[in-house]
Amino acid sequence: MEMNRLALADDEELRPQIRILGTGAVISVVLFAVSLGVMLGGFNDPKTPQLPGLSPGQTQIPGLPTTYPSIPAFPAGLPTQFPTSLPTGFPAQLPTALPSLPGGNS
């Protein structure tokens, strides 16, 4: 900023601007402190429904489960393929004509 010497104003001329900026700094410090108080105090947190508590006699869960429960194994020897050969004389074609209705109606 050394080369701007000719433009340097007398600080008296800048007093109004400096005063306004100083006022802004004080206000911002106050509002910043209030904001931190609101944030850290939890005043801004949304209200969430309370989780149900333990009934008398119930014991507290010591910790969340860390493993999945084991699933019973399937019995061995289950068929895994469809049969590939059909018995002898098995009808291989669908009928091509419908049977006629009783009474001779077509």
Binding site: M1, M3, N4, R5, L6, A7, L8, A9, D11, E13, L14, P16, Q17, I18, I20, L21, G22, T23, G24, A25, I27, S28, V29, L31, F32, V34, S35, L36, V38, M39, L40, G42, F43, N44, D45, P46, T48, Q50, L51, Q60, I61, P62, G63, L64
Partner: protein, 485 residues
């Protein structure tokens, strides 16, 4: 010499920006991992479904991140080359600006991605933003900044401040989240929610600090580039506000889009966001805080003592940071207080209550920015009178003594133009307006040259061109403009 200083300062600013980003990356890499299969950098974590678009608030696309890292690597190589070869003159300037483009260019992709993804929303924000930029320009009254300078400030805000804020805070969020939510109690899941709200609060502080420092860097850089001209509070204020306006533009696009898509979950709509960000609150938020920072740095430039300069600029930056944090947190708190007393989503809430709650914590800063602008107007008015009188005293004919009172007083200028329109028609009034504008440009040039006449010989030629323009306009329509004399 001026260019050298500006380049040195620009390099210093860039090094601070890049060093800060690398620190954020390092802290994020070292954070405790909360979830299984969490990526090394938290910014690579993606959420499924509609929540995915919500993460765009702070997201850095993977490709953009790697472009940033590549840009930093290339920038370092260019710096090493410059350090070894020590180029001089134009070659040194070209290498410096190329390095800055390579280092900062990839960061701007974050903003560009937002605009490219939602072009219609961006288009909807253009008219109000352009109007605000025009108001900023005419608010200077005298020695106005040229449009390219204002647009450069706007681009700094839109492309860099927004992107840097997201790039830093995206990493900061993951880091804070890792350190504060690492211990989730199995019997008290509400502690997780409490931790999350603390993280979001701290994230607002983090984002505000990064944003305001980036605004300050932009104002400082632009003022240094134009420091051969006179620098005053008004110039800084307008530059800062233009940077804030650019930031506000991209932020509006993302918020309007998100609330438009997820309004049923978030409680507001895209239309409401447009109303508060591009209408009633257009000059609030970052525009106000940018104006305060700019005014502070502009005032600091005029101050004699180095310590005092730092104090003034520091106070302005602190004001903006505190204001930005308060604007976010206290408006949310006030909203909680009135919840239940006002019907949410009704006409009264949409048009009055919600905007009021958002603007209330910012009100002191808006008032201070307005007071600063009024102080600038007074100072600029006195400067204009002195410069116009000095030009008339030279006797060159561009400004004559009878014209001085009219030119020095905006109301009299308007009155003469309106009177000319009434008596001689539109074309005569426009001709008079053009002449007065040219005369004010000449007076502005004269005021600017008192800064340092020897530093910029080209500026003297500019003065001759401006005088010739005034004489040409006067001789072109002497009879129509008789009303001024």
């Amino acid at each position: 010499m001026t260019g050298d200083l500006a380049r040195e300062r620009a390099q210093l600013i860039m090094r601070v920006i890049i060093a800060g980003y690398l620190v954020e990356v390092l802290l994020n890499l070292m954070r405790p991992h909360v979830l299984p299969n969490e990526p090394a950098l938290s910014i690579f974590q993606t959420l499924p479904g509609p929540a995915g678009s919500f993460t765009r608030l702070l997201s850095t696309p993977r490709a953009v991140f790697w472009c940033m890292i590549a840009g930093i690597a290339i920038g370092v190589m260019i710096q090493a080359y410059v350090a070894i070869t020590r180029p001089q003159g134009r070659r040194a300037a070209v290498l410096t600006w190329a390095m800055l483009a390579v280092l900062l260019g990839p960061f701007t992709l974050i903003s560009l991605v937002v605009i490219a993804l939602y072009p219609l929303v961006a288009l909807a924000c253009v008219p109000s933003t352009a109007f605000a930029l025009w108001l900023l320009r005419i608010s200077q009254r005298f020695a106005r900044l040229a449009w390219p300078v204002l647009l450069a400030a706007f681009a700094w805000g839109a492309l860099l401040v927004f992107s840097l804020g997201r790039a830093y805070s995206g990493l900061g969020f993951g880091t804070l989240y890792g350190y504060t939510t690492g211990k989730i109690s199995a019997t008290d899941l509400s502690s997780f929610g409490t931790s999350m709200w603390r993280v979001l609060g701290l994230l607002i502080v983090h984002l505000s600090v990064v944003n305001e420092l980036a605004v300050a860097a932009g104002v400082l850089l632009l003022l240094l580039l134009f420091r051969h001209r006179r620098i005053d509070t008004a110039k800084g204020l307008v530059l800062g506000a233009a940077i804030g306006l650019g930031y506000n533009f991209v932020e509006s696009v993302i918020f309007i889009q998100i609330y438009g898509s997820l309004g049923s979950f978030l409680g507001a709509t895209g239309g409401f966001e447009y109303w508060i960000r591009q209408s009633i609150g257009l000059f609030a938020g970052q525009v106000t805080f940018g104006a305060l920072i700019g005014a502070g740095i502009g005032t600091a430039f005029q101050t004699r003592q180095r310590e005092r300069r730092r104090l003034i600029a520091g106070a302005a930056i602190m004001t903006a940071i505190g204001g930005a944090v308060a604007a976010e947190i206290l408006s949310g708190w006030l909203s909680h207080l009135v919840q239940g007393h006002v019907t949410s989503g009704g006409a009264l809430d949409t048009l009055v209550v919600s905007p009021l709650l958002w603007l209330l914590p910012q009100a002191p800063f808006i008032v201070l920015a307005a007071l600063l602008l009024a102080a600038c107007w007074r100072a600029r008015g006195a400067a204009a009178r002195a410069a116009i009188s000095a030009e008339a005293g030279d006797g060159g004919g561009a400004i004559t003594w009878p014209e001085v009172p009219y030119l020095a007083d905006p109301r009299l200028r308007l009155w003469t133009v309106a009177g000319t329109w009434h008596r001689h028609g539109r074309s005569a009034a426009l001709a008079l307006h053009r002449l007065q504008s040219a005369q004010l440009d000449l007076a502005s040039w004269r005021w600017q040259q008192t800064t340092d006449p020897e530093q910029d010989p080209a500026a003297h030629e500019e003065g001759d061109v401006l005088r010739a323009k005034v004489i040409r306009l006067k001789t072109a329509a002497p009879t129509r403009l008789a009303v001024t004399s």
